[in-house]
């Protein structure tokens, strides 16, 4: 597999997507919403009862808030691919640009990887923007109120660095399979959203469990990685020249 070939496809897709205002808005909107919404709500709620809490209680509540904030962050990479991948794959179908693309000396795997990366990178970028917003708000509050930086902690790092990318890959691959079955962007987004929903619930349960112990967190990461590899082979089966030209309608 020649990664530079995949990167050419990724760059083209990113360039195409950057010109689509709806994709742009969702990439900006979701991280701002999810990154800021929970910390701001938490701070308002806690500020109203701050006088009645001891320092230890306040610290415990603040720590719990970082765990919940990291759970919110996983929603971004699990949900956004249903939006982005639909443009990457169904967009090609609509523009009927897959045939000339498949006629180039590029392997199916290189094309698939390039297109998956084009969905993965902006989603992870949005996730990290959300994480930065969330961390800034919580840290700014915790440092001024209780004199400590809450983030990063071990579970936050684990969630953002390992679990979120794995969840994103899973969602991208699921959406590749969805995209092969539909032929308009709205249907892809709706079906992709529908597929993402149980995925999001599963991932949220996994992330919540991971926060119980480090061992559980590692186990969740391994399960996600195995699911990623399995779904990659399934999506690779769907993304084959023959299949695309004769069955992708």
């Amino acid at each position: 597999m020649r990664l530079w070939k995949s990167w050419i496809v990724t760059q083209k897709d990113l360039s195409t997507m950057s010109k689509n205002k709806y994709v742009f808005y969702s990439l900006i909107g979701l991280p701002i919403l999810l990154g800021a919404l929970y910390p701001v709500t938490f701070i308002f709620a806690l500020n109203s009862q701050i006088a009645s809490l001891t320092h230890a209680q306040l610290l415990a509540a603040a720590n719990q808030s970082t765990d919940i904030a990291s759970i919110f962050l996983v929603i971004i990479p699990a949900f956004l691919p249903s939006y982005i991948a639909s443009y990457s794959f169904v967009g090609e179908k609509i523009e009927k640009s897959l045939e000339p693309l498949l006629a180039t000396p590029t392997t199916d795997g290189e094309l698939l990887l390039g297109k998956c990366l084009a969905a993965f990178l902006p989603c992870m970028g949005a996730t990290y923007v959300g994480a930065a917003i969330s961390a800034s708000i919580l840290d700014a509050w915790s440092y001024t109120r209780i004199g400590v930086f809450l983030i990063p902690n071990l579970y936050w790092i684990l969630t953002v660095i390992i679990i979120a990318p794995l969840a994103c890959v899973l969602s991208v691959e699921a959406n590749v399979i969805v995209s092969s079955k539909v032929n308009d962007i709205r249907a892809a987004q709706q079906l992709g959203g529908l597929v993402s929903l149980p995925l999001i619930i599963l991932i949220l349960v996994a992330v919540s469990s991971a926060q119980l112990s480090l061992l559980l967190a590692i186990l969740v990461s391994i399960i996600l990685a195995v699911a990623d590899v399995t779904l990659f082979y399934l999506s690779k089966e769907t993304f084959q020249r023959e299949e695309i030209l004769t069955k992708w309608k």
Partner: protein, 309 residues
């Protein structure tokens, strides 16, 4: 350059292409005619390694469509203009071509040169930074042709290159194909346009799932009916008709208004003798023309025969 032997493709119980054998020489413009659903696009897709074959063999140059590694080599030497142009509508003409140039592994400097040369040749260099979505259908088709040529392929597959184009745009595309012909590229032209096929192609194949006929347009036209010579006269006399009838080479003679319509097997050889006889018999010849069956006549007859089988 292109060889196919008993190439067959089935989709479930449907046979799209059956036992197609053909050979296209290097530098030849080869027309592929057939009704909708005849298997033309499927054949092109098999030859370009886009879909597999059910049976038979095919080679482009020295590479077999059977082998995965050979298929990558085939894609390097082949340019494809598919039926749908499939350009990226919100990228500029230049970026569309640059993207494909990179995928075809054309070095940066050569890529820039080729893009400029092709866009200038097709008259769209000044609009290179405009997004493709703003172009007319004809201009998009030109960009798609430039895309198929960005890596200077030895073999070019053109699937309906002038379909849905206005006459002016269609002429530009046809003229461009003639330019490519001068460059000695092998061109496989899939078309419904019989006039276009006749003007551009060295040889033509007619397909209706199976290969119905392969020959030059001229030979195909001659194969259907006897060659006829029409002699336009000031007036036709009985003596003149009797004199011509006596000539052994004239197989059949009809008189319509002031014209003699003659069936002659070898008009190049026999027409001078016929004309001398008419003049000798007092005929005033205004002009002599040839009546031949058109490619359309041949095509329709062959397709009807193939359908009846």
């Amino acid at each position: 350059m292109i060889d196919a032997e008993n190439l067959t493709r089935k989709f479930g119980s449907l046979t799209a292409v059956e036992n197609v054998s053909l050979h296209v020489n290097e530098g030849e413009v080869f027309g592929f005619l057939g009704p909708n659903g005849a298997g033309k696009t499927t054949t092109i897709r098999m030859l370009c390694c886009l879909i597999g074959k059910t049976s038979g063999e095919a080679r482009i140059g020295n590479f077999s469509v059977d082998n995965e590694q050979d298929c990558l080599e085939i894609r390097k030497i082949v340019g494809l203009l598919p039926e749908n142009v499939g350009l990226y509508e919100n990228l500029s003409a230049y970026k569309n071509l640059d993207f494909y140039g990179k995928l075809y592994e054309v070095p940066a400097q050569k890529r820039q040169e080729n893009i400029e040369r092709l866009l200038r040749l097709l008259g769209i260099w000044e609009r290179r930074e405009d997004v493709v979505g703003t172009f007319s259908k004809g201009t998009k088709q030109k960009i798609a042709i430039a895309r198929a040529l960005i890596h200077e392929p030895k073999v070019l597959f053109l699937d309906e290159p002038t379909a849905n184009l206005d006459p002016e745009a269609a002429k530009t595309v046809r003229d461009f194909v003639l330019e490519l012909k001068k460059e000695k590229r092998t061109i496989f032209l899939n078309t419904h346009n019989l006039d276009e096929a006749e003007r551009l192609c060295d040889r033509i194949a007619i397909l209706k799932t199976k290969l119905v006929a392969v020959d030059s347009p001229k030979n195909l036209e001659h194969s259907l009916y006897n060659r006829r010579t029409i002699i336009h006269l000031e007036a036709v006399s009985d003596a003149m008709v009797a004199a011509v009838k006596e000539l052994g080479m004239v197989k059949n003679l009809r008189v319509t208004d002031s014209k003699l319509i003659l069936d002659i097997d070898n008009p190049e050889k026999d027409n001078p003798e016929v004309i001398r006889t008419i003049v000798k018999a007092g005929g005033n010849i205004q002009y002599v023309t040839e009546m031949r069956s058109t490619l359309e006549d041949v095509y329709l007859k062959l397709i009807r025969e193939a359908s009846a089988q």
